[in-house]
Symmetry: C2
Amino acid sequence: MAGAPSERRLSTAEERRETVLRTALGAFAARGYYGTTTGEVAKSAGISQAYVYRLFPDKEALFLSVVEHCFARIRESLADGVAEARGSTPEAVLHAMGDAYARLIAEENTLLLVQMHAQCAAISEPAVREVVQRGVARMVEYVRGMSDGGEDQVQDFFARGMLCHLVMAVSADDVDAPWARTLAKGIRHY
Amino acid sequence: MAGAPSERRLSTAEERRETVLRTALGAFAARGYYGTTTGEVAKSAGISQAYVYRLFPDKEALFLSVVEHCFARIRESLADGVAEARGSTPEAVLHAMGDAYARLIAEENTLLLVQMHAQCAAISEPAVREVVQRGVARMVEYVRGMSDGGEDQVQDFFARGMLCHLVMAVSADDVDAPWARTLAKGIRHY
DNA sequence: ACCGAAAGTGAGTGATCGACCAGTCATAGG
DNA sequence: CCTATGACTGGTCGATCACTCACTTTCGGT
């Protein structure tokens, strides 16, 4: 495959690890930590199930990697939002961040779904809870720091983000009904 | 059946079904639909695993019953809130509803946790999605109708409700840090 | 051409899952 | 007391789970 002689930075195993990470993201997005099997992940990554365990110590570590990758991607998109509205009012910065986030999950809604599943798994899986706590903590402080918004503004920002989870869970934007329109109002899905 | 001389409304099987429903609520609250086994439910209900399948056709039906029971309990608490602020301004009614909901999940946070897991399971389990859609739809219309609030007010109400999920998932009220205080601010946990 | 290391897999391990069935036990009506 | 009915369980089924290991293939360096 692409026997490119020039700039190959990653070892082949490292490339595989990234492939598995990406496809595992899709798998975990659908059925979560408990509902996803390592066999499914392997299959969708095009490798044997045994090799998953060469790339990651166990299922939990794989899931944690996926969740962390997910947080990183979201942070990047928030940074994009900040870049668009640098130095504006807190309201403008928060709006730009929300918009960037909306664009991100519009083109890759698995990120949002993994967030949901991670929060669910955090309930009774200490290792997951720790990662989610750190991820959320960092995100809150980033949003606060970059927007210079007040407590209520920052809180509203995350409340609105969580509302996206509900909208996605019930497919509110596929439903043509008043209740669905109320929930999804103003949530841009590009 | 019901040959009981005194006031026994439910047949014994019906009683058992309710017992299983209550304990299953606790089990599903912890590990969700995929992560909870019928064996665990049976054990915590004090019956054999086989008998779970006499009371419910399968695991899915049991989970759906739990979720529906959950929605019903929440609706009751919203009604309590309405009763406290009948005829007031939309803001007052919404606040009373939120307060009643907060009291409910303070004394039985499993209801909140099941809601989270139900939304996650709704992603790839059509039957669950249907139940959650109906439950949420009914809730939105109830809140709108009773509060007479505008679209934005109703939407904010549910956004705030979803924020509770995040607060619970990361145990924000057990963490003494600015980010946690920002998220949990104003969320009454009695 | 050869070799050592890394990439990758087939074939399993024991454990546990949801679901089922044959049967035991308690009880109420006659 | 007898018997029919409903509550309830032990034992087990095939499938599937996370995880392991012995093994083969690929490939870069010399």
